[in-house]
């Protein structure tokens, strides 16, 4: 009796050897994800139903009040509008520019490696460094943009101080900063396209544009789809540019959602409403990711 029991136990113990070993290898990741991703995500959702004290502890349960407060708040609606406009300004333009550069850099010419390096260079530049450079370019009196306008006798623009221009200016600097990464990914996608496809098209005498439309773009679609998703997510997460260039101003025209969360939490100490905003950000990104999975399967041409 005893013997057979220990035997059965032993075999369970032995059978689970693989699972236990696997767990050992996965443990660091699982532990870190639990502490720094899953727990804080649930905690954020939890806090969004509470008023909090200065130390971020839940103090008073208010149900959905933080959410209704946000939806009625002009400042938050403004922040959502600014975020969507920012996405609209930066994502399509950024990808088109990166695509043009990638097509140029995919030509087999002497010295092309040099141009590839230049195009990808902004990937090595931090958001802080890039923002400081653009802060100077946008400077009202000594900045390059106003100097150029001056040369052509055009009226001066207060790039970062005028509510109609500020978001566009920040978008411009962001497009520049993100081009390097998008370029690198798209170039990789172009280089993965099978050469033979072009050879047969060339024999048929197809023009450059025909080849671009019928071979390059369809074959590149998984990569394009990937970079669209990443760019969307990145745009929703923008923070550094805002902190250095505009601080959310003028008149909140550049108060993008992450900056708004940061201010609500770490300047105003309203962790409850800040968490509700964070949940909103999470939902936005979740929708983008789910769309990628759903649409990606159907619409995109895979090799």
């Amino acid at each position: 009796m005893m013997v057979s029991q220990t035997k059965a136990k032993k075999s369970v113990w032995k059978r689970s050897l693989d699972a236990r070993t696997a767990l050992l290898y996965l443990l660091p990741s699982i532990l870190l994800f639990s502490v720094f991703v899953f727990y804080p995500m649930f905690r954020t959702i939890y806090l969004s139903f509470f008023l909090t004290d200065q130390n971020g502890n839940a103090a008073l349960f208010v149900g959905l009040e933080n959410y209704t407060y946000l939806l009625e708040s002009v400042a938050f609606r403004n922040s959502i509008k600014a975020t969507f406009l920012f996405v609209l300004y930066t994502v399509p333009t950024g990808i088109i520019i990166a695509l043009i550069l990638a097509l140029l850099a995919n030509e087999k010419l002497k010295g092309i490696g040099f141009f590839r390096t230049i195009y990808s260079s902004t990937m090595g530049i931090s958001v802080a460094a890039s923002s400081v450079i653009w802060l100077f370019l946008f400077h009202p009196s000594i900045g390059m943009f106003n100097k150029l306008l001056n040369i052509f006798n055009l009226p001066q623009v207060e790039w970062l101080l005028d509510p109609t221009w500020a978001l566009l200016s920040v978008s411009l600097s962001t497009i520049w900063l993100n081009t390097g990464f998008s370029f690198l990914i798209l170039l990789g996608g172009l280089q993965n396209i099978d050469e033979h496809l072009y050879e047969s098209a060339r024999i048929d005498g197809a023009s450059y544009w025909y080849r671009l439309r019928r071979i390059t773009i369809p074959m590149l679609s998984p990569t394009l789809f990937f970079i669209v998703t990443i760019s969307l997510i990145n745009a929703f997460q923008t923070f550094g540019q805002i902190d250095i260039l505009t601080k959310g101003g003028p008149s909140q025209s550049t108060n993008l959602i992450v900056y708004s969360i940061y201010k609500e939490a770490f300047v105003n100490y309203q962790f409850g409403t800040a968490s509700a905003q964070a949940v909103f950000l999470f939902i936005c990104i979740l929708i983008v990711t789910i769309l990628q999975f759903k649409l990606g399967e159907r619409k995109v041409h895979y090799q």
């Binding site: 802080a128 000594i142 550094g240 770490f266």
Partner: protein, 270 residues
């Protein structure tokens, strides 16, 4: 005709490169200029004086910040390489029940934006008394789903026969992992390492939250300080700071651009 097409492409390449690289060149030029030259709106400095570079190290504990940035970036890089390669190994070489579930957990972390969790994370670090410490700056970033998938992709190309032969030869799992899997996957490890270093060096929001003094503060926050100290006066000094901060990552990128491009496309698309 062929010549014409080629010349057009070269012209396009040169013009777009100049446009793309202009802000960096301009910042480089400004970093050598005196206040007067900047006001006049010159493009070329009259001489290559290093005054601004000396001043920026005077004005900020920039040397200190540079060391902090190196420590934090290398720390995250090594941490990610260890944690991700262990996880990737389990996914590829150990068949176990619940693997799909764990895999799904890893994927789900990619849908949670880091900014949505920063408030509780900040309090976690505060409660651990890790504000202004290297572990507070690095540890939250060690586990990375993207890095795990990148390595998993490469590990999958290692022939199963090699694994079986190792088992027959009596190599234990860890020896096989350490002596065979890791050396064979050197290129992917280098890619992930470069990626980890680059992204950590350029991190902005987290160091802003968890550093309050110069002890572990990184160069990125140094730039913010520099820019808010010097409102409009000494742009030359500010740009000298910018150049010092971007040189390490630009060098890394120039050296590893090809590798990075290959690795990122593979990790992203397969």
């Amino acid at each position: 005709m062929r010549m014409l097409k080629r010349s057009i492409i070269y012209i396009l390449l040169i013009v777009t490169s100049l446009l793309m690289f202009f802000p960096i060149i301009y910042a480089f030029m400004i970093s050598f200029m005196t206040g007067g030259e900047i006001l006049q709106g010159k493009f070329l400095p009259s001489n290559l004086s290093l005054d601004n570079y000396v001043k920026v190290f005077d004005r900020l504990p920039l040397f200190n910040y540079l060391i902090n940035s190196f420590v934090v970036s290398i720390g995250v890089m090594i941490g990610q390489l260890i944690v991700c390669s262990l996880a990737a190994y389990a996914f590829v070489f150990i068949p176990f029940k619940g693997r799909d579930f764990v895999f799904f957990l890893f994927i789900s972390t990619m849908m949670i934006p880091w900014e949505a969790t920063m408030i509780p994370n900040f309090f976690t670090i505060q409660k651990l008394d890790w504000i202004n410490t290297y572990q507070g700056m690095t540890l939250p970033f060690f586990a990375l789903a993207f890095g795990t998938f990148l390595l998993r992709q490469h590990f999958k190309t290692i022939p199963k026969e090699l694994h079986e032969a190792a088992q027959v030869a009596g190599l234990n799992r860890f020896t096989f992992f350490f002596r065979i899997v890791l050396p064979v996957s050197k290129t992917s490890l280098v890619t992930l390492g470069a990626y980890g270093f680059l992204t950590t060096w350029n991190m902005y929001l987290w160091p802003l939250l968890v550093t309050t003094n110069k002890s572990v503060r990184t160069v990125q926050i140094g730039l913010k300080q520099l820019q808010s100290q010097e409102v409009s006066t000494e742009w030359g000094v500010v740009m000298a700071g910018v150049i010092v901060v971007i040189i390490p990552t630009l060098l890394l990128l120039f050296l590893g651009q090809k590798q990075l491009q290959k690795g990122l496309t593979q990790g992203a698309l397969k």
